[in-house]
């Protein structure tokens, strides 16, 4: 008897809670949108990978046609032949679109800018080594700021050179003449070694830490300002600010200022912990890091204000910020490369400031980039700040006098 009553009461309470959700149409909309958005994103992050087939020599890839540069430092006939084979096989298998670059430095600059994902170097003496019956080495540098893509590029380049190498092996075995050749030359005529993008970097967390910093700063600014405003609205203190002879811009600026300080504290806490616990090293200027983090905060404050202005209550405002911030982690290239997302999703990722803040911080911390080198990111963050603020300030004024 007592059991039944408990159940009935629980049902009543559950029914009322659900009715609450049903009655708030805006909340319901975002409530339904959230899992749909999340699932479709994960589906693209872990796409089905085409199977590799060792018999036909086909290499499956989840990242088709990644741009890589080929730097040929040897002009020998064999080097040219193998370079041509590399380009041909990469193209046939849909692995890479290969462009030739004159120097390693030029290619490295492209890699830092993100226009290519890897560099293949055929070093000087490559042809001579093979001609002399010695194994030769191809060098590879990958975009280590993006660990997933980096390992894919590295292994796919190795796979292509294995295919090239096995055809040379076959020839070598045919040409065998009584033990005067190097056995490694027969087994593995071409090997692939890695030249690190930055020397001395061992922890892969090195590449994740800047992304986490940007993520913390930006989601903090989105949520922090939205919460601060809706809390003041609900507790009544916003009236005290609005009834004082001060411009609304001062209120917004004050909120942004406090949020910036909070963001910087959290950002540097992440960096400090990464250094102490995971051996992350800083190669760039802390001042430029601060500039990027301040701009990251500023770029997203407007979005938070727009959301509090639109949302009818705090719960909906929170749902809206979560729906923006959670997928942002996945489509802004912080945890996963965005290359395998569909193009439209990449556009969304690149339309959000997190992508640029993370990119800039990574370049400053790992590659010691100057302010000039990250200027495109900086300009986009500034533009984003102005754009969102232009929308947010009048919207805030209007919402406060509703």
């Amino acid at each position: 008897m007592a059991e039944t009553i408990t159940w009935e009461l629980a049902l009543d309470i559950a029914r009322r809670d659900l009715l609450d959700l049903w009655r708030s149409k805006m909340l319901l909309f975002f409530f339904i949108l959230f899992p749909i958005l999340l699932m479709s994103m994960f589906g693209y992050i872990y796409p089905p990978v085409p199977k590799s087939n060792p018999n036909t020599g086909s290499i499956g890839t989840a990242f088709p046609n990644l741009p890589v540069s080929l730097v040929k430092m040897d002009d020998g006939q064999t080097a040219n032949l193998i370079a041509a084979q590399f380009i041909q096989i990469s193209g046939q298998q849909g692995l890479f679109t290969v462009s030739e670059t004159a120097s390693y430095q030029a290619a490295r600059n492209q890699l830092v800018l993100g226009t290519i994902k890897g560099i293949v170097i055929i070093p000087q003496g490559f042809s001579d080594a093979l001609a002399a019956g010695q194994p030769a080495t191809v060098q590879v540098t990958v975009d280590e700021t993006n660990p997933t893509t980096a390992s894919v590029v590295q292994s796919e380049i190795s796979a292509v050179f294995n295919i090239i190498g096995s055809s040379i092996s076959a020839q070598n075995i045919n040409n065998m003449d009584g033990g005067r050749v190097n056995p490694t030359f027969i087994m593995q005529p071409i090997s692939v070694t890695n030249i690190p993008l930055v020397t001395g970097v061992s922890s892969s967390f090195q590449f994740l830490a800047p992304g986490f910093m940007a993520l913390t700063v930006i989601t903090g600014s989105l949520q922090g300002v939205a919460n601060a405003i809706s809390r003041e609205k609900e507790q009544g203190t916003m009236d005290g600010l609005l009834v004082a002879p001060i411009p609304h811009r001062s209120i917004i600026l004050g909120k942004v200022g406090a949020q910036t300080v909070r963001g910087l504290i959290q950002g540097f806490l992440i960096l400090g912990l990464s250094m102490v616990l995971f051996g992350v090293q800083i190669y760039g200027s802390p001042i430029i890091m601060v500039i990027v983090m301040v701009l990251g905060t500023a770029s997203f404050v407007g979005v938070g204000i727009i959301m509090t202005a639109i949302a009818p209550d705090q719960e909906t405002a929170q749902m809206m910020t979560i729906i923006l911030q959670f997928p942002m982690m996945f489509i802004s290239g912080i945890l996963f490369p965005i290359d395998q997302l569909p193009v439209w999703m990449q556009y969304i990722g690149k339309a959000l400031p997190l992508y640029y803040a993370a990119d800039a911080l990574r370049k400053v911390i790992i590659l010691n980039a100057s302010l000039g080198a990250i200027m495109p990111d900086v300009l986009i963050l500034i533009a984003y700040t102005f754009l969102t603020m232009t929308i947010a300030i009048p919207l805030f004024d209007k919402a406060m006098r509703r």
């Binding site: 609205k233 609900e234 507790q235 009544g236 203190t237 009236d239 005290g240 600010l241 609005l242 009834v243 004082a244 002879p245 001060i246 009818p312 209550d313 406060m400 006098r401 509703r402």
Partner: protein, 274 residues
């Protein structure tokens, strides 16, 4: 605003009104909360602004405080237009709204220092004024305690002195004694009288008719967004031949319950208020 209204506003301020409204109207979609309201408040008086729930009292006060834009009509506060000279209006008013305007994680003194600072008051003068007002409301021993730990009565005392820190000419008190115990209610009422003595003009809303009768020089009874009567409490009682303002109020606004529902849920105003 029409030119006729401008000239009326000017003459209003010359005539020495603290507040004058002209056709003040506020609509929330199809619902008219305040409907072409005209009234004026004399300098230095306590003006009781009375009406049932949803009558339009708070909406009117929020418009006069520039927290809400009128749909049509306008008003002057201390001679300044609420639409065009919002900042001049804000410099001259103080607001005690039903929700306490103070930060629970700040002490009483910190709250006063913060809000006084918004009015550009000089730090030392502000501290002196804050301490003097805290003394007046007998909160000096608690001035360095967080207001989050105060009782409702203590909070309301801080809330009232917060509103008068910058010496506003006009003070809006929206139900200042709601939810207080008899001791605190008595104290706040005496405080209101004291503030009148100090020269503030006071607009007071309350549902307690005995409070309105005791404090108000004149009362304005509003219902369905329209003004029903304006006079001194005594004159109204004489006119309706009754000994209590409550009877006057019920006679004018009816005894039946006022039920109406707005389609849009308002999260900004507490339930039951428009």
């Amino acid at each position: 605003m029409k030119s006729k209204e401008v000239s009326q506003l000017k003459s209003g301020s010359q005539a020495g009104y603290a507040i004058e409204t002209i056709g003040l109207t506020k609509k929330f979609s199809s619902f008219t909360a305040v409907d072409h309201v005209d009234f004026s408040v004399q300098k230095g008086e306590i003006y009781g602004f009375l009406g049932p729930n949803g009558a339009g009292k708070s909406t009117t006060i929020r418009m006069l405080c520039t927290l809400l834009s009128p749909t049509s009509g306008t008003a002057s506060v201390d001679g300044y237009d609420i639409i065009k000279q919002g900042n001049d209006v804000r410099k001259r008013i103080g607001l005690v709204s039903e929700k306490m305007i103070m930060y629970p994680r700040l002490t009483a003194l910190e709250n006063l220092m913060f809000f006084g600072g918004l009015y550009g008051m000089e730090r030392n003068a502000l501290r002196k004024k804050s301490e003097e007002l805290l003394e007046m409301v007998k909160l000096t021993p608690f001035k360095d305690k967080l207001v989050g730990g105060y009782s409702s009565g203590m909070r309301q005392r801080v809330n009232v002195i917060r509103a008068v820190l910058h010496d506003p000419d006009i003070l809006f008190l929206d139900e200042p004694t709601t939810g207080l115990d008899p001791q605190s209610t008595r104290f706040v009422r005496d405080l209101v009288k004291e503030l009148k003595q100090r020269g503030h003009t006071i607009v007071l809303t309350t549902h307690i008719m005995e409070e309105a009768d005791e404090l108000s020089d004149r009362v304005c009874i509003i219902d369905h967004g329209k003004i029903m009567a304006i006079d001194t409490p005594q004159a109204l009682k004489d006119k309706y031949k009754t000994a209590s303002l409550l009877e006057v109020f019920l006679g004018l606004t009816g005894r039946e319950l006022r039920d109406s529902a707005n389609e849009r849920i308002s999260m900004r105003a507490p339930m039951g208020r428009m």
